[in-house]
């Protein structure tokens, strides 16, 4: 089943068809939510609620667009809510580094560790640009910033990642 067929089935009242979206996008959604919240439980909660939001708002999704680009805006909002809630809780409740799956290969692990050491904003840009392959225009739209700002922020984020991957302290 592709995204367009799953969307049609969901809109016709078939809740099971939404499983396609969850199974297709949960890995990347959780990875992104972990980078934005820096907390495993918050990331899982934000991802779950973002999928619920997506189901409720599926009528507003244009199947001509890529589902994840549309979904990412919902996920980002949920992550920010989790982050602000977390900010009001006790300091001892905060977990700074999200866990990385032990099934990731050593080479990927090094890269994820370096990305994990970036700020949430830098990490978000790097992942969306390099791993998702979004264009500057798509980044500008999702992050609600001008294209020029995308370029300058991406430049700085890449500089920091280059430094981290070369083993230096940024």
């Amino acid at each position: 089943m592709d995204d367009a067929a799953a969307t049609r089935a969901c809109l016709a009242g078939n809740l099971d068809a939404f499983r396609h979206f969850v199974e297709q996008y949960q890995s990347r959604a959780l990875a992104h939510a972990r980078l934005l919240t820096r907390h495993d439980a918050d990331a899982a909660d934000a991802t779950q609620e973002a999928f619920v939001d997506a189901f409720r708002n599926l009528r507003t999704f244009d199947p001509a667009r890529h589902f994840y680009a549309w979904f990412y805006v919902l996920l980002r909002n949920r992550c920010f809510k989790q982050r602000s809630r977390r900010g009001t809780r006790a300091e001892s409740d905060i977990v700074s580094a999200p866990g990385i799956d032990p099934g990731v290969s050593e080479e990927h692990l090094d890269v994820w560790r370096a990305i994990d050491r970036l700020s949430p904003d830098d990490a978000e840009l790097i992942v969306l640009k390099h791993i998702e392959g979004w264009t500057y225009e798509e980044l500008a739209k999702a992050l609600e910033i001008p294209r020029g700002t995308v370029m300058s922020r991406l430049y700085v984020a890449r500089q920091r990642l280059l430094t981290l991957l070369s083993g230096e302290t940024p």
């Binding site: 809740l15 949960q26 890995s27 959780l30 619920v52 990731v104 791993i131 264009t135 370029m151």
Partner: protein, 149 residues
């Protein structure tokens, strides 16, 4: 010429070219970026490092998900759907009882001895409706538990 500013400007151009967002001919020594690269070893190294990092990042896969997110998501969707139905029914019972009371006050209805039975019959009908819908009960149960009932 300010070398620092020039390096940054050229690197931004090179970055956009590598991202497929701009098309300066890096290999062309007559181009601005090409001329700069021929003279600036630092930018040459930077470009090689960036290309190497891009290659590594392109091969990176997302960590596997071990949790069953679908079960959680479908439960939440189901929960929010049915809780809406129960709330609607409770509102209907309330509106029915209030409507009946208003009718009693406004109009002199016949068979006054039967009047107290009408809201009772309405409440029993509503409870029967909820009881025949197991989803509604599932939704109500955690709510009641939260309130310590």
């Amino acid at each position: 010429m300010n070398p620092g500013t020039d390096c940054e400007r050229v690197r931004l151009e090179l970055m956009a070219a590598l991202d497929g967002e701009a098309a300066p001919d890096i290999a062309d020594p007559r181009s601005d970026a090409g001329q700069h690269l021929a003279l600036c070893a630092s930018c040459g190294r930077w470009l090689k490092d960036l290309e190497s990092m891009n290659g590594r990042l392109q091969r990176v896969a997302y960590p596997r998900v071990q949790a069953d997110l679908w079960a959680r998501v479908s439960d939440r969707i189901h929960e929010s759907d049915t809780s809406g139905t129960v709330t609607q029914r409770l509102w209907m019972i309330g509106a029915f009882v209030l409507g009946w009371r208003a009718l009693q006050l406004l109009i002199d209805l016949p068979f006054p001895v039967l009047h107290p039975l009408v809201p009772l019959a309405g409440a029993i009908a509503a409870l029967w409706l909820i009881a025949t819908d197991p989803l509604a009960i599932e939704t109500l149960a955690p709510e009641l538990q939260k309130r310590g009932v």
